[in-house]
Each structure stands twice: as structure tokens, then as C-alpha cells.
């Protein structure tokens, strides 16, 4: 191990107060960036949760549909044209829409209804913890998520309420189907979902298309487009991207998250630059002595760079621990902070880059050292 590394290590820990200040700066900034980016990933995940859980090779949507929650409707007869297209095996209709849920207490709360054909493999509730999907075929049956029990004024299977003036009964309970809009999802059979949302029987929201084995996706997409020009046939990935883009960038939420992260980086860089600079100034005699001993500038810079890298590595570890705690705490929330290995790697790289950029001022200071000063001190 070169001694300039040892020197960096000792200098770093020598002044405890400054070390703490450096760590606070790095941890604050890295946690902020981590949370902002984790929210970005989490947001991206929750806005596409319905798309990810639907069983479809292609989504037939009204031309220009921006996201899953988009209220634009298709004509029901489109389904015949879709089924007539070569390569299409099935087309399951889905009806979605906002509705009003009236609690037994008489209070009203908005909900988001998702209706699908129970006999087909389309978009069914998942993570069912009580009751069953089959039970949704019963009269008045709906599925709700247990995290919304209080909001909906229900306590489990058998609880009743009103949905757009029609009596409903909880027949299935899910765990973790949460909406980032905080409006609870309510699953129901397709036919009754029309009543709850007011979507007439000659309209529908989406068609979930399954392809025949061996069918070429792009070819089917082209055929569908020319057969029904008012619609688009999107792959799951394309619809997911479109949904994410709409919610993250169409609304400015993504830009706000990135701006927050950028702010964190700037604050972190300023704090680390400040502490590195003052540390370098305190040790300026030693740097001048190194220069007098004949060390190259590169050797001296490395003391500062090592200090920056050590700070980055140690600070990052603290920040990562805090990050994982945040993940644990928010995992059940409406908007979980999601940390992926790629995010961890990217943020580690960013931390290192931030600390090296912070070393810039200190290096400039060292560049101005005149070794002659060792004689006068």
C-alpha cells in the first residue's frame, strides 16, 4: 500500500469533526439521490402495475391512449375485426373507469373499477388472500385490497357497500394492489363493471390480445393497424413505457424527482469540496514538505484523491444502509422506493464522481504550493 494512501487515511480520520461533516454531507446527498431515484423506479413500477399483471401479447387501445387510466373507449365491434385478423388467438375485453363508492356510513369515496371477463384469462386480481376470483361471478361480487379496508368502510369478505348506486358485496380480498393515485382499485366482472363505470355495452376500454403460437408480433400489429386504423396495438412493453412517460414526464413528476436528485448532488459536492479544501489547507505544510522531498504533483494529488475516494466509499456504505431502511419502510406504501442493483451501481459511480469533482478546489490549492515555504514555517 503506497504511503500516500496511508497519509490520506490518517488525514481523513485525524480531524474527527471534519470527518463527521464530510460524512453528513455525503450521506445526506446520497440518500437524497437514492430516494429520489428509488421513487422514480417505484413510480415507474406502480404506474404500470395493471399492465404488468395482465395476460396479453398485445393491448388494443384507442389511438392516442396515454396510460392505463386513460378514459378513451373503443367500439365493441372492434373485437370482431381483431379476432378476424390472422395470428390472433383471443381478444379479452376490459372495462375501466372511475366510480363512486358509498360506505355503509353514507360517506362517498372515489374508486377505480377494473372489469374483465372472468371466464377468460385477462386481467384478474392477483395476490388473493381471502375469497376467490371465481366468487366474483356471483351477483354483486367485487374484489378489494385489504390496504383500503378503512377507506372503503369494509372489514373483509361479506362486507357490503354501494357502487354508483348499486349494492356490492366483497367476495375476494387482495394484498398489495395499490394505486399511486391513492384511489382504491375495485375488481368486478366485465358486465357489472359497465354498470359501475357507466361504460355502455357497445363500448369497451381495452382488448387483451393473445397471439397464436408462432405468430409474428410485428406482422400482427401491422395487420391490426390497417384493419382498424382508429386503434393501436401495443406490446406490453410499449404500453408500459407510454404509461410511465405520461405519468413521469407528462405530469412533471419525473422532472421533479430528477431535480431533487440533482440538488442533492450539488449540495453534497459543495459540502465535500468545502471539507476537502479546508483539510488540504490544514495540511498545506505537509504537502509543501512532500514537494520539497521531490514528490511529483501526481503523488500529491493522489493524497487528495484517495481522501475523496475513501470518503465516497465510507459515506456510500452509510447511505446504502439508510436507503435499504427506507425501502423496507415504504415497501407496503402506495409509492414504494425501489432500489435495484443497477441503481446501486449507478449511485456508487455518482458518489465517486461527486467526491472526485469535490477534490478539484483542493487540488488547485495544492498546485499553487511553493515548496520554499517549508523553510519559513
Amino acid at each position: 500500500m503506497p504511503l500516500n494512501f496511508t497519509l490520506a487515511l490518517r488525514n481523513l480520520f485525524h480531524d474527527r469533526l471534519r470527518f463527521v461533516a464530510t460524512m453528513v454531507g455525503i450521506v445526506f446527498s446520497v440518500v437524497l439521490v437514492l430516494v429520489q431515484m428509488g421513487l422514480y423506479l417505484g413510480f415507474g413500477r406502480v404506474v404500470s402495475t395493471m399492465i404488468d399483471h395482465a395476460s396479453a401479447d398485445l393491448w388494443i387501445v384507442r389511438q392516442g391512449t396515454k396510460c392505463f387510466e386513460d378514459p378513451s373507449l373503443l367500439d365493441a365491434h372492434v373485437r370482431d375485426d381483431v379476432l378476424a385478423t390472422a395470428g390472433v388467438a383471443s381478444a379479452v375485453p376490459v372495462v375501466i373507469g372511475f366510480s363512486d363508492w358509498r360506505l355503509p356510513s353514507g360517506e362517498m369515496t372515489p374508486v377505480f373499477v377494473v372489469g374483465t371477463d372472468l371466464n377468460a384469462n385477462g386481467l384478474h386480481p392477483w395476490n388473493v388472500t381471502a375469497g376467490s376470483i371465481k366468487a366474483l361471478a356471483n351477483d354483486k361480487a367485487v374484489a378489494v385490497d385489504q390496504t383500503y379496508f378503512k377507506r372503503l368502510g369494509v372489514s373483509g369478505i361479506g362486507s357490503t357497500a354501494d357502487l354508483r348506486g348499486r349494492p356490492v358485496r366483497v367476495s375476494a380480498v387482495t394484498d398489495g394492489i395499490r394505486s399511486f393515485t391513492t384511489t382504491p382499485y375495485v375488481f368486478a366482472d366485465l358486465k357489472r363493471a359497465r354498470d359501475y363505470t357507466g361504460v355502455p355495452s357497445n363500448k369497451l376500454s381495452y382488448l387483451l390480445v393473445k397471439l397464436k403460437p408462432g405468430a409474428d408480433v410485428a406482422q400482427v400489429q401491422r395487420a391490426l393497424h390497417s384493419a382498424i386504423p382508429s386503434t393501436e396495438a401495443l406490446t406490453r412493453a410499449a404500453f408500459r413505457d407510454r404509461s410511465r412517460n405520461f405519468w413521469l414526464f407528462g405530469t412533471g413528476a419525473g422532472a421533479a424527482l430528477f431535480a431533487g436528485a440533482l440538488l442533492g448532488l450539488i449540495v453534497g459536492t459543495v459540502i465535500v469540496a468545502q471539507t476537502l479544501y479546508s483539510s488540504t489547507k490544514d495540511h498545506i505544510d505537509e504537502f509543501a514538505t512532500l514537494r520539497a522531498l521531490g514528490s511529483s504533483n501526481a503523488y500529491i494529488y493522489r493524497v487528495i484523491i484517495y481522501q475523496a475516494l475513501l470518503s465516497a466509499a465510507i459515506g456510500f456504505c452509510f447511505a446504502a444502509v439508510i436507503g435499504f431502511i427506507v425501502v423496507e419502510v415504504t415497501t407496503k406504501g402506495a409509492l414504494p422506493v425501489v432500489i435495484t442493483p443497477a441503481l446501486i451501481a449507478a449511485i456508487f459511480g455518482l458518489t465517486v464522481a461527486m467526491c472526485i469533482a469535490s477534490a478539484f478546489a483542493a487540488i488547485l490549492r495544492v498546485l499553487r504550493i511553493d515548496p520554499v515555504m517549508v523553510f519559513t514555517r
Binding site: 503506497p2 504511503l3 500516500n4 496511508t6 497519509l7 490518517r10 488525514n11 485525524h14 505544510d285 505537509e286 514538505t289 512532500l290 514537494r291 520539497a292 522531498l293 521531490g294 514528490s295 511529483s296 504533483n297 503523488y299 515548496p371 520554499v372 517549508v374 523553510f375 519559513t376 514555517r377
Partner: protein
């Protein structure tokens, strides 16, 4: 007689027609005026003069820390003309060891690490470097103090660590700026004894700057400087034991 002997020895540092202007504007000072000086292998030269006479400035120019305003410096026969800061650093690294009045040890490093540092900046690491550093500390009488930090050492011990650091890379010239000024008489004597031994043993040129007359017995040659000019040069007595070793 001994003066002739030193005159024959290899010049280690040579300065010709040095003039050094320091500062700028109203604070401009001609710190050296037409100075000619040669430091030879195997001698301990003592540069004496009042405060502000230009001793440190001459040491800095000879040690490649300052570029002379006028005149030429050569180190082991190599001219420093046109050298930039990195090249001057390389010349110092290869040929010169420095000792300072205030030691300038690294407070967070042990005695051994302080000495090793002088090798480390030269890219010399590992077991060989470490055993060299140990050897240098043993030579200055600090065999027991390898692991001590500067804070745990007396002034005399710290200066001996600095001497070990200056010689561990085996430089041709050792330049010491008032190395005993901060030490009491006894420690000053022991530091000077070590320095004169170093000059003799390894045929090094040692230049000591100071103004304490007690340094004079250790010198082979005494040069006086006043107001930026060398005004007198005479041969010193040198300790008898060392004179015998150097003269035979």
C-alpha cells in the same frame, strides 16, 4: 592541506554568478548578489551569516527549490537551466535531501513511515524500502523508536528522524537549514556529529546553515554571507576523529 583535498573532490552542487530577486514591487529584495559556490562530496560546509543575509535563499536555489533570477546551478554536473517545477522536483528527488529547522515530520505517520515516505515518493515500496528505512533510523540512533509518532519524540529525536528521512534515499547532497536552532546544546551537538559522519562515510556533500558558533568545530569549511554576498571563506577545524578519517 585538507582544503586542497576537498577542492579535488567531486562537486555535488555548483552555483555560478547567482543573483536572486525575491518579492515584487516595493517589497522587491535582491536576496543574493553574484554568488559563486561549490559544495563537494565528502565535505561538511557551514554557511554562516546574520538573519536576513540570504542563507535560506542560497540553500533553496542550490536545492532546486528556487530558480535563480540570474546565474546557473548544476546538480551532480547537470544544469538546472530551463527546468520546470516537475523537473526541479525530479532533481531534488534524485540528488538532494533536506533538513529543516522545524523538522517538518508528518504528524500522523510513525517515525518509520516518515522515513519510508522519502522512498515512497520515489516509487520505492515494499520490504526492501522498509528495511532501508529501519537501517537509516538505526544509523541516527533511533532503533527503539520505529513506531513512535512525532508527538512522542523529543525535538532532538524528531530532527534525527528528519535526518534519516533526508539520507534514506542516499542523496549526493544534504542541505540543512538551521538544523540545530530549535535544539539545546547537547542535542545540537549530536545532530551535528551525525551530519559530519554522513558527509565522510558516504562521500556526500553536506551544507549546514546556521549562526551558532558551536557549529564551527564540525565544519570542514566555513563560508560567511552578509547582505546576499559571500564575504569570507576559511577552512574549519572539524572534529579530530573525522578529520583523520577524511584526510587519510
Amino acid at each position: 592541506m585538507s582544503r586542497n583535498l576537498y577542492a579535488m573532490a567531486q562537486p555535488v552542487l555548483e552555483a555560478k554568478g547567482l543573483t536572486q530577486v525575491l518579492g515584487s514591487g516595493a517589497a522587491k529584495v535582491r536576496a543574493l548578489k553574484d554568488v559563486n559556490f561549490t559544495l563537494r562530496a565528502g565535505e561538511l560546509a557551514l554557511l554562516m551569516g546574520p538573519s536576513g543575509s540570504g542563507k535560506t535563499t542560497l540553500l533553496s536555489v542550490l536545492g532546486c527549490m528556487l530558480t535563480p533570477t540570474v546565474g546557473a546551478v548544476s546538480v551532480c554536473g547537470k544544469s538546472t537551466a530551463g527546468a520546470d517545477a516537475e523537473e526541479l522536483a525530479r532533481l531534488r528527488r534524485e540528488h538532494v535531501g533536506f533538513i529543516f529547522q522545524s523538522y517538518h515530520l508528518f504528524s500522523t505517520l510513525t517515525a518509520l513511515e516518515n522515513v519510508q515516505l522519502a522512498l515512497d515518493v520515489r516509487g520505492r515500496r515494499g520490504n526492501d524500502a522498509e528495511s532501508r528505512a529501519r537501517h537509516a533510523l538505526v544509523r541516527v540512533g533511533l532503533a527503539e523508536k520505529f513506531a513512535a509518532t512525532p508527538r512522542e519524540l523529543s525535538g532532538g529525536e524528531q530532527q534525527r528522524v528528519a535526518i534519516a528521512r533526508a539520507i534514506v534515499s542516499d542523496p549526493s547532497a544534504v542541505l540543512a537549514d538551521e538544523p540545530t536552532a530549535a535544539l539545546d546544546g547537547e542535542n545540537g551537538q549530536s545532530v551535528m556529529t551525525i551530519l559530519s559522519t554522513l558527509a565522510k562515510e558516504a562521500k556526500r556533500g553536506v551544507l549546514v546553515v546556521g549562526h551558532d558558533p558551536r557549529l564551527m568545530p564540525f565544519a570542514d569549511r566555513i563560508i560567511s554571507i552578509a547582505d546576499g554576498r559571500l564575504v569570507d571563506e576559511r577552512s574549519g577545524t572539524g572534529p579530530p576523529r573525522l578529520r583523520a578519517a577524511g584526510g587519510s
